[in-house]
Symmetry: C2
Subunit: 226 residues, 2 copies
DNA sequence: CGTGTTATTGAAGTGTATCAAATTGCGTGG
DNA sequence: CCACGCAATTTGATACACTTCAATAACACG
């Protein structure tokens, strides 16, 4: 409900440099006056699967997840986007509706650029499109890797990998068993049992809901075994 | 061994129109004199995972698979490319080594354009890069869908989906149990058992190695159930 | 201070991988 | 052209990892 819209100076935007759009010479000023800032509280939806793309979002602060919901109702986390990451480019390039729902994991501030403006930017600054194509290529590699891992590695292995990935990339976040399960392609119960095992083995320390990693190497070892 | 290189007129190329590169005005003539044609027999490798990208391939005739090999030695088919499809763009855009090995499924003829030339083409004809970005976007959707299906759907369901997809897109090919398994993320034995069941139910007909689909609707129904 | 969510562990059920063995089919070379 | 060998097919038996269901405990929240 608390969704504020406002204009704000790109000069003070902390994500300007590492952003695939704004880091391109000239593109920033082109985009400056057509953009909007929106705030979302944790749990709020940014866009829904099935809808047509509106434009491009950039995460300025906070954390956003792309989640696919199965007909039976269980969620799967496809991608996670922190500050500097773009949101909505896949649907835009493919001219397809969104295939997943974007949800704020924690309180987040996003920057929005309408679709029609973005198409103009692509024409004026091909480097922007190239940057996004590079991002798509990395996303594709990760997605295909994830499928392969889902087949080759057992749940404990995938959970170890999830722990490493999530703490590596989003260390501030305190992840719930459910969130880890939705990322690792398993259930909260299996995550729990695995965490208990890893705790007994001294790889991690559990204190209530918080998980502290004691031995990255050993966890990494688990992640790479079947 | 029987790998022939030759120059050949793009005018007679059957895949020119639906090809993301050559269909762009002007790009064809730009590419015409830097391209090469290569022939591969079924089973031959076009490039290996781990190597740096050489350039872009186009499938003119035949069928090529992108396959990831697990450390334990079992293969997974990531993507399949028929006539008109491009090969090697993900690694090129990402500036990464190939993550998968490309193998000719049947005797195939490919067109090759070196990396340095492609980069020039991207600058001269941004529409080419846009077309490939669109392709990447579709690939990404499919890859993410595949991961979700791997979790949500049981083997019989995924096999039904595989049968439909493979016959839809590559109807000429006669698929082995192993190839279906590598696409569906399961084992040849499970594919076999499932095929037997589907035959008993009258959904398909098995005659030796050949599989004939008797009821697409019923198979589709199976594919969408858990 | 309840109420709903998360954590935690147990017990049961089952889908599917794995191993094994027999049969069929196919390509290759003698 | 046949015979051989190797790969693909087919079916059975076994094992087990993981989901599912369930029940309690700890916690966060308005």
């Amino acid at each position: 409900m608390a969704k504020h819209h406002s204009h704000q100076d790109c000069d003070v935007c902390p994500t300007r440099a590492q952003n695939p759009v704004c880091s391109v010479d000239g593109a920033l000023s082109r985009v400056q006056d057509v953009r909007t800032t929106s705030r979302y509280s944790a749990g709020q939806v940014i866009f829904y699967a099935g809808n047509d793309p509106l434009g491009l979002f950039t995460v300025q602060t906070g954390l956003v997840k792309l989640e696919a919901l199965s007909p039976e109702g269980d969620a799967h986390t496809l991608r996670l986007m922190g500050p500097g990451c773009i949101l909505g480019y896949r649907a835009l390039f493919a001219s397809e509706p969104y295939r997943a729902t974007a949800i704020a994991v924690e309180d987040s501030q996003l920057c929005f650029i309408p679709k029609t403006e973005m198409l103009k930017v692509f024409e004026e600054f091909p480097a922007v499109a190239m940057n996004l194509a590079k991002q798509l290529s990395v996303d594709l590699r990760r997605a295909e890797e994830k499928w392969v891992q889902q087949i080759d590695h057992q749940a404990p292995s995938r959970i170890a990998e999830a722990l490493l990935f999530l703490t590596d990339h989003f260390s501030t976040q305190s992840w719930t068993r459910r969130e880890i399960a939705e990322w690792a392609g398993t259930t909260p119960e299996t995550v729990m049992r695995t965490l208990s095992t890893y705790e007994k083995q001294g790889l991690i320390a559990l204190d209530g809901k918080s998980i502290r990693i004691l031995s990255r190497p050993s966890l990494s070892e688990k992640a790479h075994r079947t």
